[in-house]
């Protein structure tokens, strides 16, 4: 009974706050300058004729990796360092002997995971690889793909993937490869500009009015822009990073929580 009253109190509080926000919404709207920034992104990103275009309808992806790419780069670095430092601090990362396999969950769950896991990976890949044109992107796809090994580990056993040569070293290598790829992509146009003696920028995507170096973009001969490359490398970093962290957590759990 006490809980019902508490929940009723929560509901009344929420409704009262909603009413307050509604009544004062005229004064809480963002300022005009913020809206003009949004209007610029929304008009420039998808318009191929705009001088500062990203030539993609995925405006969010364009903001993340083109207009505000440096922010996303540092976010990825933070994620990489947090995962790598966390895993290395609790694990020696040496090649392990694969311990005896646990029974895992029931055969029905295992059969379901066998069907669902490849679908999840495919969905994650589609989300990541089409991120430069549709909603989605490297982080979305990578996080979705990481669900598959997580489900496999939960259904079969912690050491199931280790027994199939998915080692911590390989995951850490792929994660590092992803971050290196992001760095190389970010610097590529800048280095190309230095070599050609033309003006160019770090993290530059398509050619700009004062910086002619850039990726060919969707209309170019390879159909590649920096958004696609960033999404692929981000997907690699995130998928391998989360898988590595979860496998390490589960292995530590199986050892009874003992750490080095």
């Amino acid at each position: 009974m006490r809980k019902v009253f508490q929940i009723a109190f929560v509901i009344i509080t929420v409704l009262a706050l909603s009413l307050l926000v509604f009544a004062t919404s005229e004064y809480l709207l963002p300022s005009g300058s913020l809206r003009s920034l949004a209007a610029f992104y929304l008009s420039a990103a998808p318009d191929p004729l705009h001088p500062y275009t990203s030539a993609t309808p995925a405006v969010v992806g364009a903001i993340l990796w083109d207009y505000r790419g440096i922010d996303t780069f540092y976010e990825t670095v933070v994620l990489y360092l947090a995962l790598a430092a966390g895993v290395v601090s609790i694990s020696p990362l040496r090649p392990r002997e694969v311990p005896g396999r646990r029974a895992g969950l029931s055969p029905m769950v295992k059969a379901a995971i066998r069907v669902v896991a490849p679908v999840v990976v495919a969905a994650g890949l589609a989300m990541g690889l089409h991120g430069s044109e549709n909603p989605g992107g490297g982080f979305h796809g990578g996080a979705t793909i990481a669900i598959a090994p997580l489900a496999v580990v939960a259904a079969f056993s912690t050491t199931f993937l280790l027994g199939r040569k998915v080692s911590m070293q390989i995951l850490l290598f792929l994660m590092s490869l992803g971050l290196t790829g992001i760095g190389v992509t970010a610097l590529s146009t800048f280095v190309a500009g230095l070599l050609a003696g033309a003006n160019s920028y770090v993290l530059q995507n398509l050619p700009k009015p004062n910086a002619p170096m850039g990726f060919p973009g969707k209309t170019g001969w390879m159909g590649v822009d920096s958004l696609l490359l960033f999404d692929v490398f981000e997907l690699l970093t995130v998928a391998c990073g989360f898988t590595l962290a979860f496998m390490e957590l589960m292995l530590q759990s199986d050892k009874g929580g003992e750490t080095r």
Binding site: I7, I11, P135, G137
Partner: protein, 87 residues
């Protein structure tokens, strides 16, 4: 058109209210596994709200992280400690 907008706003209001109740239940629940489920329910309702607010990018990242990775990590942590929160 107006009816569709009203439906969207009504659903948004329901998601906001129900997610707040889910948060309250997650905070007060002594069974930590149930608390994680309440938290996942809150995340699911948020995902629906983001969808209704036409933010598909947020939905696509919110679903795997808030409904998959975070509950899995929390369950893994609970398996190393205790299921019931003591007074």
């Amino acid at each position: 058109m107006a009816a569709a907008e009203t439906l969207v706003y009504t659903l948004l209001a329901f998601c906001g209210l129900a997610s707040t109740i889910a948060v309250y239940l997650a905070l007060t629940e002594k069974d930590l596994v149930k608390a994680i489920i309440y938290s996942a329910v809150q995340s699911g309702l948020y995902a629906i709200a983001y969808f209704l607010l036409m933010a598909p990018d947020i939905v696509l990242v919110y679903l795997p992280v808030a409904l998959g990775l975070v509950p899995a990590v929390l369950l893994s942590l609970i398996s190393r400690t205790e299921r019931w929160e003591k007074e």
